[in-house]
């Protein structure tokens, strides 16, 4: 029961729709009272497990230092987000979440990146070497019929094969299945996600046909750059967390359409187990019962080798960590390595870090995974190489064509928070900040909507900046955003439909085509209140192997936003809705949304 309760309280990074905001310390573990609190930033996929272990630890005799109790309090924070915050000294707790004394990212590679960034800034490292306490390899998850079509596992499959598939104009037709359309890859943003970072490193190794010694010179080779761009070209969209893809795939599976959304997703092995168990995001919502999908996933262990997420438990060498906190954290670190607690690790689908615990259920072939795999591992590159790879990914990723569709209805003028700023003020600042995350080649347009906004048809929206490379019009878009003022009502459905139709008409197959919708209200348009009609139109536009997939990423802004409707709209386009019901979170949420491109 405790596991279930903690699972329900689990927070994920991002944050697509109904999950708790990342960085937020929830009260799932109760009141720490007078105990010394040790905050632990934990990557999202293992927050339920860590909170479970913390709950039993806090109640145990181990949770005591010099006669005083300690209280371990894990909270969810994406590995990349925590790495960025630590690199900057974790200065803004309001935006970044509680400053942690300990950290468990999905991979120790993030610690190396933090230390490298600190060194580049002339600062001392704060992330010491730490022991992993559970492991899970990066795999290429494929719907079983697709893996079968490639002959896996008898025929090894790797990133090079994915590049071949992505480049083949016949798509799946080359493997006897034209009905599946082109090859579509799902990959997360490596700046946020460990599986994204691992996939990025793995594809570089695949390009070079080596398993170690990735160098800065390697990354600059023209054929390596071509390989990387080729892989990225097959991406349907990015995202800050893998559950975005797996939830969409699961919904499509329920409709019998899982084979046309995505052909493969770079995820951790544990995600395949969760998906096949009917819990695609690893978090059970209230009342949710796990139901296995019709088409299960198969974990393809790349033939070139792969990387492991090694989940270190790190006590930060930072001046804000007291001796008592350090000692308490050390005790918790020992506690989670104990065999009985490592058995709990296994229950959650991870491979135990303590070798005394055997790898068994649920890591078995019947669940789509293979405990005897992988046969090769890839060396984690030097930190400066990883930092360079991340920088280069910003240029090599698939370009995007994005319409920013901003609600300027009257309610956006409501005061948000104590500073007197309105919701629109906060949103404007967040949107302007987010513009920097686009690469110069991305085409971005700005459209605002509100009832009777324009004197001419169409009256409900105005294109302030047409599509064009943002490198040339970043400042113009920012200037236009700065000048926005709140006006009338919210013709939500009309604005969405027309914007979506525009992207469909002007669809560019070599780009991620998307609408980012920021809205704080509900549809207030008596001329168009047909939600089902809109949902049907959006869904049909995304169906079929020759579809023109345009993604709609809504941000539900403020507590008046119609999150439920926005979620339906997003899911109809195989995208995700983001919850910014707390206006103060809008900067963080905007960042998460833009990570899809």
């Amino acid at each position: 029961m405790l596991v279930l309760l903690v699972t329900l309280a689990a927070a994920c990074s991002g944050l697509p729709n109904d999950e708790a905001p990342e960085g937020a310390v929830d009260d799932a573990l109760g009141d720490p009272g007078e105990c010394e609190v040790i905050d632990v930033a934990v990557s999202s996929e293992k927050i339920a497990l860590l909170q479970d272990l913390a709950a039993t630890f806090n109640d145990s005799e181990d949770a005591e230092v010099d006669g005083e109790c300690v209280f371990v309090r894990p909270y969810s924070k994406s590995s990349g987000g925590a790495a960025t915050a630590l690199s900057n000294g974790w200065q803004n707790e309001e935006a970044e979440g509680q400053r942690p004394e300990a950290w468990s990212p999905a991979s120790s590679a993030w610690g190396a990146i933090v230390n490298q960034r600190l060194a580049d800034a002339g600062q001392e490292p704060i992330v010491p070497d730490s022991e992993p306490f559970m492991l899970t390899p990066l795999v290429i998850a494929m719907p079983k019929p697709m893996a079968d079509a490639l002959g896996y596992p008898e025929t090894p499959v790797g990133f090079a094969d994915i590049l071949d598939l992505a480049r083949d104009p016949a798509g799946w037709g080359a493997h006897g299945h034209p009905e599946w359309g082109p090859f579509r890859l799902g990959k997360t943003n490596p700046n946020f996600s460990t599986s994204g970072l691992s996939a990025l490193i793995a594809q570089y190794y695949a390009a070079l046909e080596k398993t170690e010694g990735l160098s800065l010179e390697d990354l600059a080779q023209p054929d390596v750059i071509d390989f990387a761009k080729g892989i990225e070209s097959s991406v349907v969209h990015y995202g800050d967390i893998t559950p975005t893809f797996l939830n969409n795939l699961y919904r499509n599976d329920a409709r019998g359409a899982s084979l046309t959304y995505v052909s493969a997703v770079a995820v951790e092995e544990v995600s395949v187990i969760s998906y096949n168990a009917g819990n695609p995001d690893g978090v059970l919502s209230p009342g949710e019962e796990p139901r296995p999908p019709r088409v299960p996933l198969v974990a393809v262990y790349p033939k070139e080798g792969t990387l492991f997420s090694d989940n270190p438990f790190i006590i930060l060498d930072a001046d804000w960590v007291s001796d008592a906190q350090r000692e308490g954290a050390e005790r918790f670190g020992e506690y989670i390595q104990e065999p009985e607690n490592q058995e709990r690790v296994l229950e959650f689908g991870f491979r135990p870090g303590n070798p005394s615990v055997a790898v068994g259920e649920p890591i078995v072939r019947a669940n789509g995974v293979d405990p005897s795999q992988p046969e090769r591992t890839l060396e984690v590159p030097e930190p400066e190489v990883m930092v360079e790879a991340l920088d280069r990914w910003g240029e090599q990723r698939k370009p995007a064509k994005v319409m920013l569709l901003v609600d300027v209805s009257g309610s956006m003028g409501d005061v948000a928070g104590d500073t007197g700023e309105t919701k629109l003020d906060l949103a404007k600042r967040a949107a302007i900040d987010a513009l920097d995350q686009f690469k110069d080649e991305d085409d971005v347009a700005l459209r605002i909507f509100s009832t009777d906004l324009s004197a001419t048809e169409p009256t409900d929206y105005i294109d302030l900046v047409p599509f064009g490379p943002i490198g040339a019009q970043r400042e113009e878009i920012a200037s236009r955003i700065r000048s926005l003022v709140p006006t009338q009502g919210t013709p939500l459905y009309t604005a969405v439909r027309d914007s979506y139709d525009l992207l469909q008409r002007e669809y560019e197959p070599d780009r991620i085509n998307a609408v980012v919708l920021l809205s704080d209200g509900q549809n207030e348009d008596p001329r168009n209140s047909d939600l089902q009609g809109l949902l049907d139109a959006l869904a049909s536009a995304n169906e079929g192997q020759s579809s023109r997939p345009v993604r709609l990423f809504p941000i539900a802004y403020g507590d008046g936003a119609d999150l439920s409707t926005l979620r339906q709209l997003a899911e109809a386009t195989n995208a995700a809705a983001y919850d910014a019901s707390d206006p103060a979170s809008i900067t963080k949420v905007f960042t998460a949304v833009i990570s899809n491109f």
Partner: protein
């Protein structure tokens, strides 16, 4: 009767005095002498941590990488280098003192106390077949993935010495035997061996990490015995020729005392007791030369 009680009281006082004296003596064992009478400071290399684990709380114990301690001690103040006893693989204290002498600094260490020994070993797949150190070293740059402690650290450099002994066919080589071809071999090994703090644990956690994990007998047997059956399946411990032994010593700074119990701590984790048998280890000077080769 009163005489009996007087004698009993006298005996009680004497026994009490002896006990109190004994307790004071015990405390003295863990207390530094001189003006600064803090607890005795013992630093253990991470490879010989078990020795320090046996010490009581009266000691100030630090566990750290041997090479890290060595780097600090090379230039430390001769009067108070910050530690009282260094527990490390031999001949690291001699390497430090040699470096200090060459830098014009006074030697730090008095006579070391030998605590235990453990043969250098490799954990390999059962399918590998006979392979001496020269073979493992050659194949490390060819078809075997080899994990070990970094070759410029405590036990790592001893494995490097073993590889070199294998290549040269003798354990009694000198630094001037390290010709260009041997130096190239040594540098190739430094690139080829994946340096991690706990190679055996890594191998047991992720079998695909390595084909071979460099270790020593006590560590290998302890970790394999503690691993689940599926993790240790297909692995075996080998002692490639020529056999060299890791020797743990406690080196006191000057004439300071070495705490009791250090050797017992090692033996509790499978180390052999000290012996007069040759260890096969090269001299500190040769190891220094090997360290210079790999830069």
């Amino acid at each position: 009767m009163s005489r009996f009680f007087a004698v009993l009281a006298a005996i009680t006082l004497i026994v009490g005095a002896v006990l109190v004296r004994g307790m004071l003596d015990d405390d003295d064992d863990a207390t530094r002498e001189g003006r600064d009478r803090g607890p005795v400071r013992v630093v253990c290399g991470s490879e010989v941590q078990a020795a320090c684990d046996a010490l009581g709380s009266a000691y100030e114990v630090t566990i750290e990488d041997t090479a890290t301690t060595a780097a600090a001690l090379r230039t430390a103040d001769g009067d108070d280098p910050g530690i009282d006893v260094w527990v490390a693989p031999w001949p690291w204290p001699e390497i430090v003192d040699g470096d200090r002498e060459r830098a014009g600094l006074p030697r730090l260490f008095g006579n070391p106390v030998t605590l235990g020994r453990s043969a250098l070993a490799a954990i390999v797949p059962e399918s590998i077949g006979p392979c001496d150190w020269a073979c493992v070293g050659q194949r490390a740059t060819d078809d075997l993935r080899v994990g070990g402690r970094p070759l410029d650290t405590g036990v790592g450099v001893l494995h490097l010495a073993a590889f070199t002994a294998g290549r040269l066919g003798t354990t009694t080589y000198a630094s001037n035997d390290l010709d260009a071809a041997t130096q190239s071999f040594v540098r190739g090994l430094a690139d080829a061996v994946d340096g991690v703090p706990n190679p055996v644990t890594r191998l047991l956690q992720i079998r695909a990490s390595y084909d071979v994990a460099l270790t020593h007998r006590a560590e290998a047997e302890t970790l394999l015995a503690g691993a689940s059956e599926d993790r240790r399946a297909g692995l075996e411990v080998t002692y490639p020729e020529p056999v060299l032994s890791l020797v743990a010593v406690a080196a006191p700074v000057g004439d300071r005392s070495v705490p009791d119990g250090l050797g017992g701590g090692l033996r509790s984790t499978g180390w052999d007791p000290p012996s007069d048998a040759p260890s096969g280890l090269p001299t500190a000077g040769v190891l220094t030369a090997l360290l210079e080769v790999i830069g």
